[in-house]
Amino acid sequence: MIVAIDAASTELGLALAERDGTPLAEVGWTSAQRQSAELLPRLLEAVEGSGRQLRELAGVGVGTGPGSFTGLRVAMSLAKGLAFALDRAIVGVPSLAAWLEADPETEAAVARAGAREAYVLVRGSDTPLLTDAATVAHRLGGRPVVAPTELAVAFGLRRATGPRGALVIARRAAMRLDADPRGDDVRMLEPMYLRAPRGLEGRPQGEVRWL
């Protein structure tokens, strides 16, 4: 069994698939703040609902974004924990590419990058770009795109459909493990950030906290 987690946006997704990629279950829901509280319980429910056990895990697929730093951190920490605890492989799959693959009618995938910017992956391209809201609205406002609802509303994407990338992540992870059973390095795997951490340059005093 492959478990896949996609938490790059406020629309969270989980999927279970057979080792060969055949879908077993998919769950999607919206949560802006409670990824840390909700992801693991929902995952355990899905496993139980499919009559499976976590111990049957063969590998973990995890969306690497780019997107919500919080969501990606929660997903990545859970995925690392599951993979390490069971000594199974982990595979990182770019989230926006998975969203596009799941929704063939769309031309681009859009994820939030702060208040006034978005990560945009245009179909046919390999690299998501950091783009400001005005450009996103101008270029993609009337086009069919994948984007979480809150972002579509905020950025004026009138023909957006919500992301559903988890099953694709599971399938891609299964394919990857066929080709390379070791998968990614569980120590080093990290989200695709695209942005330097805020604060590395021109850091305003107020943003720094000591704990």
């Binding site: 319980p41 924990g81 390490f84 605890a85 850091r203 720094v208 000591w210």
Partner: protein, 348 residues
């Protein structure tokens, strides 16, 4: 073996710690990755940098801790993790990793308050398993928790029973050290740099001690401002800044504020001992001054070794030992709580 063997994870700020602690006291492994060098470049902790590093270091530290202890999953009785207070991005990493480990191996999960961890560092020992445990701290115990993020004076009546006597109303003591370190152009972190500069120096001035509403509260932002004015004065006059002398005067003012309130509180509450915790507990002048003033009252000062004062997994394992015995359990929905407080009792 005496008591549960707990795998403990600490990721509340910029240290990534994983430890194995038995019975809340005996350290079998205590691995810490620190980001001090990284943050030296920015002069302080940048939350997003800290969180990214947590995700990078957590598995290597976990591997190292399990290897050092020699414990496999079957030999563990629980997984413990800091769930607050701290930086949200950093906390999330440890909390979610710990939850995954616990559910996979069907181990109880214990959520630990970071401040409680600092206090329980006083219960830790690295004595080998065939040696008897050193005696436990006695209650009532007065705990001064001082670090870059916290400055609290806590009266501990018994395991898990605390009264908050006072705390900083603005900057934490360690934060004041870092800020003054920058004013004096000293390297980050400011605590060790200021202490080093102050060794043997004659204080260049006497900085005012802050007045606070609560008798056991602390305030350090006025002191920082006073240092800034002093430094600016030398600059305006075109005189060289007596860095060592100002560092000594600043350290003296911080230590005096911490020590005098702690001693008064110890007397008022008739405690059995005073315990230090947190990164600033490594400050030699603080340790020496407190020990000397408490000795006049015949009171012992407990100070963990520096490695257990700064953030680490073992202190979380120590607090978890008590929490585990008391039946505290968290589940898969455990959240990170950045402003988590201890469950305070009413003031006595």
């Amino acid at each position: 073996m005496s008591g549960p063997r707990i795998l403990a994870i600490e990721s509340s700020c910029d240290e990534t710690g994983v430890a194995v602690v038995v019975g809340g006291r005996r350290i079998e492994a205590n691995q810490v990755a620190t980001q001090v060098a990284l943050h030296a470049a920015t002069g302080g902790i940048v939350p997003e940098i800290a969180a990214r590093q947590q995700l990078r270091w957590i598995i290597p530290m976990l591997e190292a801790a399990l290897e050092t202890s020699g414990a496999d999953w079957g030999a563990l009785d629980a997984v413990a993790v800091t769930y607050g207070p701290g930086l949200i991005g950093s906390l999330l990493v440890g909390v979610n990793l710990a939850k995954a480990l616990a559910v996979v191996h069907d181990l109880p999960l214990v959520g630990v308050n970071h401040i409680e961890g600092h206090i329980y560092a006083n219960w830790l020992t690295d004595a080998p398993a065939d040696e008897p445990l050193p005696p436990e701290p006695e209650f009532p115990l007065l705990c001064l928790v001082v670090s870059g993020g916290h400055t609290q004076l806590v009266l501990m009546h018994d395991h898990g029973r605390y009264t908050l006597l006072g705390q900083t109303v603005d900057d934490a003591a360690g934060e004041a050290f870092d800020k003054v370190g920058r004013l004096l152009d000293l390297p980050y972190p400011g605590g060790p740099a200021i202490s080093e500069a102050a060794v043997g120096a004659i204080p260049a001035t006497r900085f005012p001690r802050a007045r606070t509403d609560g008798p056991y509260d602390f305030s350090f932002s006025g002191l920082k401002t006073a240092v800034g004015r002093e430094v600016a004065g030398y600059r305006e006059r075109g005189e060289p800044i007596p860095v060592d002398g100002i560092a000594a005067a600043f350290e003296e003012a911080v230590v005096d504020a911490l020590a005098s309130k702690t001693v008064v509180a110890a007397r008022e509450h008739g405690v059995a001992a005073v315990a230090l915790g947190g990164g600033v507990a490594a400050n030699r002048v603080l340790r020496a001054t407190l020990a000397e003033r408490l000795a006049a009252d015949g009171l012992p000062l407990l100070v963990p070794p520096p490695a257990w004062c700064t953030d680490n997994g073992a202190m979380i394992g120590a607090a978890a030992g008590f929490r585990f015995a008391a039946g505290d359990r968290a589940d898969a929905s455990l959240e990170a709580i950045p402003n988590l407080a201890l469950p305070w009792l009413e003031a006595p």
